[in-house]
Structures are given as structure tokens and as C-alpha cells.
Amino acid sequence: MKQAIRTLATMIAAMAVTSAVSAQALRQIVFQVYDADSGEPLAASVSVDGNKIDGGRLTLAQDQESTIAIQVQTTAGASYRPRTFNVFLANFTGTQAIQKIYLAPRGAEGRVYSRGNVARATSYRGQDVDRAVALLERIYEESPSDLHGTQFGVYLRYNLAAALFGNCTEKFVDSCDAAKTMFEELLAEFDDRRAMFEAERIGKNNLTTSDFDGQTLINRYRRAKWDLSRGRYESARDAFQELLSEAEGDARVSAQLKVRVGQLKSDVDLAETRLQSARTAPP
């Protein structure tokens, strides 16, 4: 009887350990790929930092930093436009994070796009901004460049820039710089094409109010934290050091970053300590 109870206790303990291990293994990012036109799931290949991941699941160690910065590449055959982007996830403490990625099918040769297509793509911003980005990028890249100077081009580029900024702030995709560049280009054209902007009810304030620099700083900080957690101490230290220098020179940097100067200093020290330990550690 005692033997039976002992065996049962051992089995229960083994099950508990297995369950704990499973819970650790479940800490993962799941990349789900969809067709941007139809919204249907798509069989696609997903690579993270150059390495293809099985089943679109990136499993992280339990002691992994809660800040994640990765480069994602997605392809789904020649008929879809591949996408490559950096994504920064902060405070990832759960067991599973789902990252939806939309791929737009390539348009047929000579396909013409219209305001109607831009309006339809933009309408997905409230639902999933990445879908809007995938569709608007397709229209932008497949339309003849001389259309960019028309009212259609202004409408398209304004909505694409807004969607790229939305993808940066809502889904933490590294697209703030692209959005900033596009808004700056539109602002530079504003006086020459005033009638087009006015017809779209776009004012100069619509092109200047977004906090691109603040979001870019946040993404840089997340990238440095990720580098630190992945053992890339030197690049992490350099990035922290740059941010620290900027924060010491301008108080707004610290406010935009939402990180105090003292914290940045300790981040630099931590990266430096780990770098020295890695250098002195036996191979």
C-alpha cells in the first residue's frame, strides 16, 4: 500500500514538473499571417532575426527580458508581397502574445488603383492597422510615381503615413521614421499643392503634430534592452550610452522616453558589467 502511494506521489510530482516545463515553453510569440485583401489565414514562412521559425511560433526562455525587439520577415510565395519589419514589444509578461501580420497579394500587371482603393484600405485602420499598412503600401508601390503628385497621391501618402505611424504606436512596429519622412515630404509640398491638401481637408497641423521622435526614442530603448537580453552587450551599451548622452543634453528626451537619467546610467553600467564578464569569462 505504501509502495502504491509512493508511486502515485511520484507520478503526481512528475506531472507537476512536466506541467511547469510546458508552462515555460508556452511563453511565446505567435505570428499569424493573413491575406490583406480577404482577411483569410495564410500559410506563410516567418523568420525572426534571419532564422526561420517553425509554425510561426517564437518560443522565449522563461527568464527572457520582458522587452522584445526582433526583425520579422514574412513570405508567402511569389504572388504575395513579402514584408520585413522590426517589432518592439514591451512588458511582455504573459505566456503568449499574438502578432498578426498581413500580406497583400501582388496586383496584376498594369492594375490601376483609385481613391476608392485607398478609402477601402484606410477603413481597416480601426480594425487592424497592419492590414491598412499592407494594402496602402501595395497601392503606393504599384502605382506609377507620377500619380504621387495628384490629389490621389496626396490622399494616398497622407493615409499611408498615418497608418505607418499607427502601426508604430499601436503595434510597436518600427515604422515611425518612415511615417515621419512621408509627413515631412507632404509638408514640403503643402504650399505648392495647397488646393489638393485643402480638398482633402488636410492642414499643416495634421502633418506636424505627431510625436515621431518620442516613439523612435522608445523603440531605440526597447531595442537596446532586447540586445542586452540576447547577449549583444556591446551594441546594447552603445545604444544606452547614446540615449544617456541625449537625455543629459536635453531634458525632453528623458520625458519622451519615460525613463529617468538615473535609470539610463544604471542600464549603461549593467551592459558594461555584462560585457566585461563576457570578455573575461573562459571560452
Binding site: V112, S114, R115, L147
Partner: protein
């Protein structure tokens, strides 16, 4: 008879007129304008229904009957015939202009539309090119018809 002929010519040429107005009001198809949507709708109904009847039967028929005979004492065309000739030449030039601007800037035109279906947009692009090309050919045909009928009337008067 002339009033009827000019009215029918105007009705026949309406898509060309509206396309040219749309070109002017949209700064060469660079701006979005309701005239663009209107011209697409108009060319659609003309191309599918109205223009065939107007272009192949009514307008040439009325044009031919509007030719006035040569005045017996003068060896020249009747002023009414000349007016009709110049109206047709004007229509030919307007259709040439329309065809040129449409074929040069058809992508700009289509890009300003609110339609989003790829099939409908491709069809609109083809239809705009076909409609504007058809007016060039047909207005030239009416000019030759007018000259032929006038010449025939002239010959009969001389006999």
C-alpha cells in the same frame, strides 16, 4: 431641320463635352471632381445603350437631310451646309483633344474615382479610351458624309 440636327449633335457629343469639362474642372485630372464621376457614368450609359443608336443611325441621317442645296447662281456651298460642316469639324477637333488628354492621363483620371473594384476600374479605363477614339473616327465619317451629300446635291442642281 438645322435646329434638330444641332440638338442631336449636342446629345451625341455629350460625353466628349462632359469629359472636356471634367478635364478643365479637375486641373487636368489631377484633382478629384464630381465631373469625373459624372463623365464615367455618362460614358457608361452612352457606350452601352444610347450612342449606338445616335451614332450609327440618327445623327448621319439627320446630317444628310440637313444639307441645303447649292445656290444655282453661285458656285459655292449653302451657308447652312457650311455651318454644319464647321460644327462637325469642331466636333472632330474636340474629340481629338478629348482622345489626346484621355490617352495621356487616363491613369490620373481613373485614380481619382471612388470605385474600388479592379475589374470595374480596368473596364472604365478601356471604355474611356474606346469612347474618345470612337468620336474621332465617327466625326470624320460625318464630315465625309456631309461633303458627299452636298456634292451630290450640287451635281443634281447643275443638271
Amino acid at each position: 431641320m438645322m435646329v434638330v440636327a444641332y440638338t442631336l449633335l449636342l446629345l451625341y457629343a455629350l460625353p466628349v463635352v462632359v469629359l472636356l469639362i471634367a478635364f478643365a474642372f479637375s486641373s487636368g485630372f489631377a484633382l478629384h471632381s464630381q465631373w469625373l464621376e459624372f463623365s464615367v457614368a455618362l460614358s457608361g450609359i452612352y457606350f452601352t445603350n444610347t450612342r449606338d443608336a445616335l451614332g450609327t443611325f440618327v445623327v448621319p441621317f439627320v446630317t444628310a437631310f440637313s444639307v441645303s442645296r447649292l445656290q444655282p447662281d453661285e458656285g459655292r456651298y449653302h451657308p447652312q451646309t457650311l455651318r454644319l460642316f464647321f460644327v462637325l469639324v469642331g466636333l472632330f477637333l474636340a474629340s481629338m483633344l478629348c482622345y489626346s488628354v484621355v490617352s495621356m492621363r487616363v491613369n490620373e483620371f481613373v485614380s481619382q474615382l471612388n470605385e474600388s473594384s479592379p475589374g470595374a476600374l480596368a473596364e472604365t479605363k478601356t471604355r474611356l479610351l474606346n469612347v474618345s477614339a470612337a468620336y474621332v473616327k465617327e466625326s470624320l465619317a460625318y464630315i465625309s458624309l456631309l461633303l458627299g451629300v452636298a456634292q451630290a446635291a450640287n451635281s443634281r442642281s447643275e443638271r
